[in-house]
Subunit: 215 residues, 2 copies
């Protein structure tokens, strides 16, 4: 398909597509004349992923480029490609080692991973996974703000996301090729976050009404 | 306690505390001399909540003021105060009624609420809860970007957050007074979001390793 059709089918303006091409977020089309190129379904899918990352995930162009580079790294297997792509997503502020609460966060996060019996151990991998850093920062912040949480408090959340990850990966495995699966995994990680957070607030309202509701 | 102690115990600089006082995010202390005021544990707690909202939640000062006003509205019962405070949190872009995907989002969200048998029904409440709008936008975006999702796909996430909301409210009920509970509910809603999202990414890595991992 030509640029105009790619724009119509993706809902992304031709100016934005040209910008993504210049920035290396979208691979060039197959040149057919001096001024025209031909695009395929792979371009359309990639364009959707770029929009998911940038417009929904609010991810800066440079990080999006890193995520996409990881997806295409032919030296990695599917699990490694997926891991590297998710690593390149933004994870908020890294743990602040000058803050004494960070030590609490790290100890609690490590004990939680032990309790959940997940195979990831920060001590055996360097650098640590950014999602681990995000967890340490979050627990440190809770502690610093006067809402300390224990492994016992956190375990039910770990069990809940464990089941959720099975559902997540089942969704991903519906896509045909490993390449499509890795793209879907990154897109669904980002796009399901607002689904989860909004459903959690509705579920809290439901539970609050049940416990504290008037009448 | 005096301003200096409030600052030391909360970790918030005196300049920032004065700014929050001017902006009405913190109620004035009890004036003891022309230039000095006395603050109490209520100020300390409120200051922690303000930091959770603004620094962690990235919530604008004006919205934080709305959240705090809802917490203090003596005409509302505990469930209503909690609901209004969570409503005042930012929920991302509202559904775009000019986008045909929004209709899909709304239909799917309504069918999901039916399936989950939650009591909230957007048709019977106006304006609709912002978390409902956030859910509609999220489903519409998935559909527009070529990742349509059905009620069957979403139901497991609904069930997971349902169980999570019970844990959330159990944590909240540990706090003594209804006022502290409502404050804790808002703080924990915001502060547990990065805990959840980071744990989900770690759980996905775990599940991906299990399914696709080499060796």
């Amino acid at each position: 398909m030509r640029l105009a059709e790619l724009s119509a089918r993706s809902g992304v303006s031709t100016a934005t597509i040209k910008y993504y091409l210049r920035e290396g977020l979208l691979h060039p089309g197959r040149r057919v004349t001096a001024t025209q190129a031909e695009y395929d379904e792979g371009h359309l899918r990639r364009l959707r992923l770029v929009r998911a990352l940038i417009q929904v995930g609010g991810i800066p162009v440079a990080s999006a480029r890193e995520v996409l580079a990881a997806l295409q790294d032919g030296d990695l297997d599917r699990n490694e490609r997926l891991g590297s792509a998710v690593w390149a997503l933004p994870h908020g502020p890294a743990p602040d080692d000058d803050d004494p609460a960070t030590e609490v966060g790290r100890r609690t996060a490590d004990a939680l991973l032990d309790r959940l019996d997940w195979s990831y151990r920060p001590a055996s991998e360097a650098p640590a996974a950014p999602a681990y850093g995000m967890l340490v920062t979050a627990i440190a912040t809770l502690s610093r703000l006067g809402y300390p949480c224990s492994v016992r408090d956190l375990e039910p959340y770990g069990r809940a996301v464990e089941r959720m990850a099975v559902t997540d990966l089942d969704l991903v495995e519906r896509y045909g090729t490993p390449e499509e699966q890795v793209e879907a995994a990154v897109a669904l990680t980002v796009l399901y976050e607002p689904v989860l957070l909004s459903l959690r607030r509705l579920a809290q309202a439901e539970e609050s009404r049940r416990r504290f509701g008037g009448k």
